[in-house]
Symmetry: C2
Subunit: 376 residues, 2 copies
């Protein structure tokens, strides 16, 4: 994996760059649609390419390990071959999922014992086997196994947890370096900065992560309930330390405003379930602002969803029709809204990139943040 | 609406024809995907055209009347404009739905009083207002308001019900003739033959229906639980009476074998929820036979769904991937299986048509029925 920095904004820490993987290029800043179980919910792979213009999608180690399981993915020749997505893939390590199991997991130095949420079967994730699993899944970018502490979290817990994440990272890197990809293309490992909302911990963690000298770096444990201002403060500290010549990935974030602000703070990669999850509930992000399509005001609005986007779906179906579909719980409603919201997120990061390249990112961001977050 | 008969099979009553409507041509025999609430579940309109090659789809008066309601559809300029489907549409009259409400409807000479299954609100369908409603919805082909008797059904009930359907039909035709379409294109009314599984009633009903001299004719009240042999027997009686120069529509039928047999008996049009409903449960109709994708045998079958079809979806995703999606209740599983099954049904009637034109329909039908109904 290679990262080239094209342009740095003069008024902010925003940057435009390009990641090159064996499955193709990714122009940054970039948003990555979440495909937890090897599928972006409600969206065909050809729609990801044509309507949404996704350049990379996510998969999730925890979910894919349980279903379909590693034998099936290995038999297919990796996740790309299994689901037919031939552009880059990133897999989350499963850490976030197993920690969210709460009642049915136990953390130790070795790793995490947990029970499957599907059938209660017992499993163990360790830094080593999570590397092995991600070798089998075969994503282009794989994530270190970390602990994501809850919010709020006292200082002592956050500090101990950060050190555990760091010790696990060393084991991840060792195993990663001892092994290689199964399918003839290379994989990159991203370590994850933790430290909750404590500046000194975030600083220490970012320094430790930077020293590992991996191909890219991630920032975890944010957008877990803390105020947005705290998130931006942590991001400023961390991005000031993580090396400039490597991509920075802010995990699980966020709203359009969060993403624009995080870009301004020097972040390059994002993922979030918000565009698809909110789509299924009838919340649309548009180039004019936010629409709750369940509101009565849309029932006789026959204008198309969003002429500000170029994709066919946003310019074909009317708001009135989409409202009807969502109200009736019709599958097509979730499909249309998911395509639209993801196309919007890709448009948003694409626009950010263009304005960074054009040199007017900051005024554009300030104007757009207000516009995009208003409720129509 | 115009119907031209192109070819009659020599060894059976099968025919190939062409229906011309103001929204385009329909080559018969034809299968019509069911789009109850103005959407074929899980399928985009462009997929109906490109992957499935649907020539006409169904809508349902009962469902559309309740949601989104007539004001919204009228405001859009009719159902075609509302849902973006610019090829022909047929609407079912709502009779079948209100009768299936059982506990919350009351039949009288006037019509049917019923309570909405959604909010319990009280409504009345009469032959007259069902014509008016279908004028507002604006389908190219609209159906008479009939009573669909249950199965089994004693002779007396079937006879009285048939006469009620006939009296209602006269009222439908009167109202239909007194009114005209709202949107500048013409609509055709199809009356419906009833009579349960009693030959003499079916004969009497078919004669009455034929006398009404409408643009096409439908056969209702079959495939409601009776043995397939009874259905075929009724169909033979009815099709022997309904005029040759008008299309014959068998409502709500059926399996691939049912459709081929009904084509052999001189039927031209079909609709059924089976391809989409079974798709959502993981049952696939393929050119090699029937697949229950939930079976373990498919979990490592990486071959694509069906190379016997030409559409992209059936030739892109593997059986193993589809099994994974259906097992995990992922939306995309329902989407893929729905597109595939509908593409299969359209392929089936298209093949039937080609073999009628080529003069070898009967031997082809006998061979295919066995092949298509075997479980793989």
């Amino acid at each position: 994996m290679k990262f080239e920095l094209s342009t740095k904004d003069q008024e902010s820490a925003a940057r435009a760059g390009k990641i090159t993987t064996d499955h193709g290029e990714i122009l940054t800043p970039i948003f990555m649609p979440v495909g937890t179980a090897g599928t972006v919910k409600g969206v065909h792979q050809r729609e990801l390419k044509k309507d949404i213009e996704a350049q990379i999608i996510l998969g999730n180690t925890y979910h894919l390990y349980l279903r379909p399981g590693l034998d099936i993915i290995k038999g297919a020749g990796g996740l790309h071959k299994f689901n037919g997505w031939d552009r880059p893939i990133l897999t989350d390590s499963g850490g976030y999922q197993v920690f969210s199991l709460k009642e049915i997991r136990k953390i130790s130095e070795e790793g995490v014992h947990f029970n499957s949420h599907i059938d209660g079967s017992k499993h163990l994730f360790t830094p080593e086997n999570v590397m092995d699993i991600q070798r089998v899944i075969g994503a282009d970018i794989i994530m270190a196994f970390d602990e994501c502490p809850p919010y709020p979290c006292d200082y002592e817990y956050a500090e101990n947890s950060m050190h555990l994440t760091h010790r696990w990272l060393k084991r991840c890197i060792k195993r990663f370096d001892e092994t290689e990809g199964n399918y003839g293309y290379s994989q990159a490992l991203f370590p994850i900065v933790q430290g909750s909302v404590y500046k000194d911990l975030r600083k220490a963690s970012a320094e430790f992560i930077a020293e590992q000298n991996q191909a890219g770096n991630a920032i975890g444990g944010l957008s877990v309930g803390e105020p947005a201002e705290d998130m931006y403060e942590m991001l400023e500290v961390v991005n000031g330390i993580l090396p400039e010549e490597k991509p920075r990935y802010l995990m699980g974030v966020g709203t359009p405003a969060n993403i624009l602000e995080a870009i301004a703070l020097g972040t390059d990669m994002f993922d979030c379930v918000m565009p698809t999850r909110n789509a299924r509930n009838g919340m649309l992000f548009t180039t004019e602002g936010i629409i709750n399509i369940r509101n009565k005001k849309w029932e006789d609005d026959y204008s198309v969803i969003d002429t500000g986007l170029k994709n066919e779906v946003s310019n074909f179906y009317s708001k009135a029709y989409l409202k009807h579909l969502i109200k009736c719980n019709e599958l097509l409603g979730a499909q249309i809204a998911s395509i639209h919201n993801l196309a919007f997120y890709l448009w948003l990061v694409g626009q950010a990139r263009e304005h960074i390249l054009a040199g007017d990112f900051t005024p554009w961001k300030n104007k757009m943040t207000k516009k995009l977050m208003q409720r129509l």
